[in-house]
């Protein structure tokens, strides 16, 4: 029965392993949830990318008109230095997302490699598990502060922090998948055919552990944005005048009684981003979940 319910890779022109996986992931975005999530994200990202043309004055255009209320020219009003909050919020989303998009894949690659390192030697695998425990237990904000103190404020320390904090998120998942895949019969079958460990890892274990990792990617990406926000919120992240969602929240909250839109803008944007990534993760989960069903 499961055969017929299966909607995974189908015979078609391109038969590559990678291509078929990509097709499965792409199919997630044909689901309503995936579509909606992607649409929200696209609007935000496109607006961010187009901001130089939409607002030729630049995000740092200061003026004497500080803390104006809502108007046509300034949909979210202006901040304490007379800058347009709406534009800064859009721009900030781009910055925050950008940091997460750079940092999280680094964490994903490292975490996955560490999670799969049990393939090379079981002992190495156990050591990596201990490292995950350590990273998970390490107080995140303290880690962030230490990194900021070491490399200075700015995007680099944010990227480092977010990558480090993402490692166990992927690593544990990869480790779990690795352990269960390793016990699967097709992996044993490959072993019995004397196929090399590297090849088993690349062709058999990795592709079959990738699905949960890809689903996780969406969630960790938004988590990265939130980490950025948290670190910048306490003044250690991106530094003004460059806006990020966290720095905007940081200053917005100080003007909360005078200009509520200041903090509301980035907050709403954060929630929208969270919603969008969550929807996409859901859709991916569903798309690959069907796939997993076909495995049984």
């Amino acid at each position: 029965m499961t055969d017929t319910a299966f909607s995974g890779p189908r015979a078609s022109k391109s038969r590559g392993l990678v291509a078929s996986m990509l097709r499965t992931y792409a199919s997630a975005f044909r689901r309503p949830r995936g579509m909606l999530g992607l649409a929200i994200l696209s609007v935000i990202v496109l607006a961010g990318l187009a901001s130089p043309w939409l607002w030729p004055g630049g995000v740092d255009q200061q003026s004497r008109d500080s803390l104006l209320g809502m108007s046509l020219a300034h949909p979210f009003g202006t901040d304490q230095l007379g800058r347009d909050i709406f534009m800064r919020t859009i721009y900030a989303a781009k910055i925050s997302l950008g940091i997460s998009v750079v940092a999280v894949p680094i964490g994903m690659v490292l975490g996955t490699l560490m999670g799969l390192s049990g393939m090379i030697s079981p002992r190495l695998g156990t050591i990596c598990v201990s490292l995950f425990d350590l990273l998970l237990g390490f107080p995140g904000l303290i880690l962030a502060i230490l990194i900021v103190l070491m490399v200075g404020t700015g995007w680099l320390s944010l990227v480092l922090t977010i990558s480090l904090l993402s490692i166990p998120q992927f690593g544990r998942l990869a480790r779990g998948a690795f352990l269960s895949e390793q016990a699967r019969e097709y992996v044993q079958a490959a072993t019995l055919l004397n196929i090399s460990k590297t090849k088993i890892m690349l062709r058999h274990i990795l592709p079959n552990t990738l699905d949960p990792l890809v689903v996780q990617l969406g969630l960790v990406l938004i988590n990265g944005v939130f980490i950025e926000a948290a670190i910048s919120l306490v003044g250690l992240g991106i530094q003004p005048p460059t806006p990020s969602l966290g720095t905007l929240l940081n200053s917005g909250i100080r003007y909360i009684y005078q200009q509520p839109l200041y903090a509301a803008g980035p907050t709403v944007l954060l929630l929208l981003l969270a919603l969008s990534f969550n929807l996409m993760a859901d859709a991916l989960n569903a798309a690959t979940g069907r796939d997993a069903q076909g495995d049984r």
Partner: protein, 316 residues
């Protein structure tokens, strides 16, 4: 259980040793030193150097490390460089605040997560199910600090005189203390509660598919009883683990929440100590945090063993 603990001991100790090395080394790799923090912003280079001499910071790191470790083993956490107080006392002063927050948040998490999870895990009308899924999804994705900010935003508009921040002991001033702790605890617990809810939901759905539920139906057990007596109990097993892990996360998530809501918990102590290079405090807090996380992890496994007769009776 004891066998289990003994089995885990070596890796636990190893984890702590590695953590202690990192906790010791990392803060000291950071530029700037406690002497500068002590000397203040108007200090001259000579003044800073004089303080550095007084503080005896010039000893080799290895010696300092083993001094500290030796103290730790004997239960001496060391002395804060900045305030001159024993680290144990500094931490002791903050423990009540952190414990109160964690406990209230954990309670809220379990209650909210449980209710949401059970509602979402049982059959509901379509729109209710969708709404529940939406709420849970959004809460899961939104971290405490954002939830906290949203709540501050709402509270300032709706109840402008509700005390938003600060703290009062729940023991000595329960009424006011509770007012103050409600928002931060709620902010802290909501994302975790949603995660718990999601887990309970998916567990319940999985368990509902299980054969023993089918047998219960075939026995003629009414649907409500199936949920309470069969599905729920069997769904809570690994929810317990997650709840335990989440309590650990509550502890670490508390740092930012403490900052936003002006609570003087351990998180704030850690941040302040890190900023001012009070190595002695920072290193103890890091080791403590990792140790607690690992312990919580272990306890949750024990908890699972207690809950599940298959494990409980086999490891006797």
């Amino acid at each position: 259980m004891i066998r289990f603990l003994i089995n885990r001991l070596p890796s636990f100790v190893l984890l702590l040793v590695v953590t202690s090395v990192i906790a010791f080394a990392l803060p000291r790799m950071v530029p700037g030193d406690p002497a500068a923090a002590l000397a203040g912003s108007d200090a001259t280079a000579e003044q800073i150097e004089a303080i550095r001499q007084q503080l005896d910071l010039g000893r080799p790191f290895v010696v300092q490390y083993f001094d500290w470790l030796g103290g730790l083993v004997q239960g001496d956490l060391g002395t804060s460089i900045l305030s001159g107080r024993p680290v144990a006392e500094l931490i002791g002063d903050r423990v009540e605040s952190s414990l109160e927050l964690t406990l209230v948040a954990a309670t809220l998490m379990i209650v909210i997560g449980g209710v949401l999870g059970v509602l979402a895990g049982t059959k509901q009308k379509n729109w209710i199910a969708g709404l529940l899924d939406g709420i849970i999804g959004l809460l899961v994705a939104t971290p405490p600090h954002v939830t906290g900010l949203v709540m501050i935003l709402i509270m300032t508009l709706v109840l402008p005189y509700w005390p938003i921040s600060g703290e009062a002991s729940l023991i000595s001033d329960p009424g006011y203390g509770f007012q103050l702790i409600l928002l931060p605890a709620l902010a802290l617990s909501l994302p975790q509660a949603a995660a718990v809810a999601r887990l309970i939901q998916s567990n319940m759905r999985t368990v509902a598919q299980m054969d023993f539920v089918e047998l219960a139906r075939a026995k003629g057990v009414p649907p409500r009883r199936i949920i309470t007596h069969h599905i729920l109990r069997n769904s809570l097993g690994n929810a317990l683990i997650v709840i335990a892990l989440r309590v650990g996360e509550l502890l670490s998530g508390a740092v930012v929440i403490e900052a936003i809501f002006a609570r003087n918990g351990l998180g704030q102590l850690a941040v302040a100590a890190t900023q001012s290079r009070d190595y002695m405090v920072v290193q103890v807090i890091i080791v403590g945090a990792v140790a607690i996380a690992a312990l919580v992890n272990m306890l949750s496994e024990i908890g699972l063993a207690i809950l599940d007769p298959r494990i409980r009776l086999d490891t006797k």
